[in-house]
């Protein structure tokens, strides 16, 4: 593997810029909102309908996104942006999504135990004793504090706990 050559002083590096990318994303988002909101009556300037504000906001988003992209020529190169935590972040999001899916199906306590086992045991690779202690402790103590003492409604498992 060859080392990347350092840019010459004063030279402009070519490539996609972060502000250009985010600006274009906002423009596309604005266009999508305008397209998606076309079903709502716009009304008139004097008597705005339910589609008026979404359209106005979509236009503003397109304009702002275009300005960000236009002025973003000197922003950081997309290829130079560091994403060292991205894989772990994605893994955390996927596990959390699984937790959201399971919450009302297997109940609060089992979901929390499963989530903490996955986070601590699989992602963080902590010792089995610590994983078991934290997952069981957190699950039961938080349930006791929130559901029993503070009467917050938390889902139960199909087996009644």
């Amino acid at each position: 593997m060859t080392a990347a050559r350092a840019p010459e002083p004063g030279s402009v590096q070519r490539g996609l810029r972060s502000d250009r990318v985010s600006g274009i994303f906002l423009v596309l988002l604005g266009l999508f909102i305008a397209w998606d909101g076309r079903v709502y009556p716009l009304g008139t300037l004097a008597e705005p309908g339910p589609g008026y504000m979404p359209m106005l906001v979509a236009v503003f988003l397109v304009v702002t996104g275009a300005l960000i992209a236009a002025f973003g020529g000197k922003s950081e190169l997309l290829s130079a942006m560091p994403w060292p935590e991205a894989r772990r972040a994605l893994l955390i999001l996927i596990i959390s999504a699984a937790g959201a899916f399971a919450l009302e199906r297997i109940g609060y306590r089992l979901t929390m135990i499963a989530l903490l086992i996955l986070f601590l045991g699989v992602v963080e690779r902590r010792s089995p004793f610590a994983v078991v202690a934290v997952s069981l402790g957190f699950s039961f103590i938080s349930y006791y504090v929130f559901a029993t003492l503070l009467l917050v409604q938390l889902p139960l498992s199909p087996w009644g706990f």
């Binding site: 985010s22 709502y40 300037l45 979404p54 955390i92 919450l103 601590l120 934290v134 917050v152």
Partner: protein, 506 residues
């Protein structure tokens, strides 16, 4: 004045009630912990505690949540000074000189000055709140939909003008928040917008899942995988005492920070964050030895810490008097009150004097509690920072799921939180400030309703906004701010924001 004192006495009779005192203390302790923990800022902390307030009376609810808010302001400075990790966004600038002082062995005085400055500024803010809110509330009775429209518009312009990073990015995020705020049933026509067949979205997207996702989950995603926490200094009580010179140098910054923070707190935006940066910039500018800043100048701790606490208190004025949330935190506070059937606004102070004055008095009590917590007990709190982050973040994430779910007993809210966490993570990687998203989300329905009501009042005549004196004044102010906002784009050399250090932010 006599009436104010009588009202304050009424307030203290409420605030010194043992049950209120206990919750004020609990709020301050939780807030200090929330402020210290990376990944949980005041907004996420308050949002997570919202379900807990369902079973409490409105006075206790607001006292508990506000205790968390200003407790987090105090707590955030501890990690900034000792570890160079800002517990919450307003403490970012404190890292610079606070941590430099720690490296020079002056962590104790830095913590003490931060706590004293926060106490002075917090107390100053409460006095301002006590004197200004009732006056503003009686004035606000003259406000109709056009005035509210003008006020909300000016809020967005101020947000762009005072923003920490790029103005365009701030505006884009506010507009993104407005888009989220459009989801749900349109109150004037009954149309359900952008709900994609999900019945639960009829009520719109809640502030709690958005706030917890944007500020809590995204922070966890950004900091995941960080190494073991660095060694933390634990100053003793004796080491906390600042020298006479440090005291002398801090008096001016504390006074200026209190006044500046309070004034910025009243206007919409991420007041406490902005105020700390502006205060730091001003202190550096007026200092005879600006070269000391960045190398452990006590003024760089005293000014910003005072400013963010004064701003946190000042933000309660428009919330209480006008019913307008000037920050996402205030929106959650309003939600907490509305859950109990109380609508903040011009009538609140006259209709609910016990709530308003009890709350004001509880803030005096809270400031004293926080001073006690943050000086002698700082060593105790520091122990929390020794828990490895790999244990801390899974528990914080589970709390996020628990808190978000329990607001509406809805898994859709948990999904929204996770989606917002992912979006927030990406936006932050691209240097976008997320606070305007939450603000836009809250202000969107208010702005749309007041705009359309104004036009209904005037039979579609847009001159209604310039024929009424208050809305005209507000719009003129808005135009001036807009022109000032675009001035740096045209005259690059005359950018005051860069001079006070706002452009240096993230």
């Amino acid at each position: 004045m006599v009436e104010t004192l009588q009202n304050l006495l009424l307030g203290f009779s409420v605030a010194l009630n043992p049950s209120v005192l206990v919750y004020a203390f609990a709020g301050c302790v939780i807030g200090t912990l929330v402020g210290m923990l990376p990944g949980l800022g005041p907004l996420a902390g308050i949002s997570l505690l919202l379900p807990v307030t369902f079973g409490l009376n409105p006075i206790i609810s607001i006292v508990l949540l506000s205790g968390v808010y200003y407790g987090a302001m105090y707590g955030g400075s501890t990690t900034s000074i000792l570890m160079r990790i800002p517990g919450e966004a307003a403490s970012v600038i404190t890292c610079v000189d606070g941590y430099a002082m720690t490296q020079r062995g002056r962590a104790g005085p830095a913590l003490a000055i931060a706590a004293i400055g926060s106490f002075v500024a917090g107390t100053f803010g409460v006095i301002g709140l006590m004197l200004l809110a009732p006056t503003l509330a009686s004035f606000a009775l003259r406000f109709g939909p056009p005035e509210y429209t003008a006020l909300l518009m000016i809020g967005f312009l101020v947000l762009a003008y005072m923003s920490g990073g790029s103005m365009l990015k701030t505006l884009a995020m506010a507009i993104f928040g407005l888009v989220l705020g459009m989801i749900g049933i349109d109150t004037m026509s009954g149309y359900t917008r952008f709900s994609y067949g999900l019945v639960e979205l009829g009520d719109g997207v809640g502030i709690v899942p958005v706030a917890v996702g944007l500020f809590g989950v995204s922070e966890i995603l950004l900091t995941a995988g960080q190494p073991m926490p660095p060694k933390v200094q634990k100053p003793t009580l004796r080491q906390l005492i600042p020298s006479r010179e440090e005291f002398r140098l801090s008096v001016g910054p504390i006074a200026r920070g209190s006044l500046l923070g309070f004034m910025i707190g009243i206007i919409p935006g991420s007041a406490h964050i902005i105020s700390s940066f502006v205060s730091y910039g001003i202190e550096r500018r007026i200092s005879k030895h600006p070269e000391r800043f960045g190398n452990g100048a006590i003024e760089g701790v005293a000014g910003p810490e005072s400013a963010n606490n004064a701003a946190a208190t000042g933000a309660f004025i428009p919330m209480m008097a006008l019913g307008i949330p000037t920050s996402p935190v205030m929106a959650v506070m309003i939600a907490a009150l509305m859950l109990h059937g109380i609508s903040p606004g011009p009538m609140l102070i006259s209709q609910e004097p016990e709530l308003f004055w009890g709350f004001v008095a509880s803030m005096y009590v809270g400031n004293v509690v926080l001073l006690i917590l943050n000086l002698p007990m700082v060593g105790l709190f520091v122990n929390l920072l020794r828990v490895p982050y790999s244990f801390l973040y899974p528990c914080v994430l589970c709390f996020c799921i628990l808190g978000t779910y329990s607001v509406n007993s809805s898994t859709l809210d948990v999904w929204i939180m996770l989606v917002m966490g992912g979006i927030g993570y990406v936006f932050r990687k691209f240097d976008y400030d997320l606070a305007p998203v939450a603000l836009g989300l809250i202000l969107a329905p208010m702005l749309e309703l007041s705009l359309r009501q104004s036009l209904a009042m005037s039979a579609g005549d847009y001159t209604i906004f310039v024929t009424r004196p208050i809305s005209l004044t507000l719009f003129v102010l808005g135009v001036i701010l807009f022109l000032l906002s675009i001035k740096p784009l045209i005259f690059k050399g005359k950018n005051w924001r860069a001079k006070v250090g706002l452009d240096a932010q993230g």
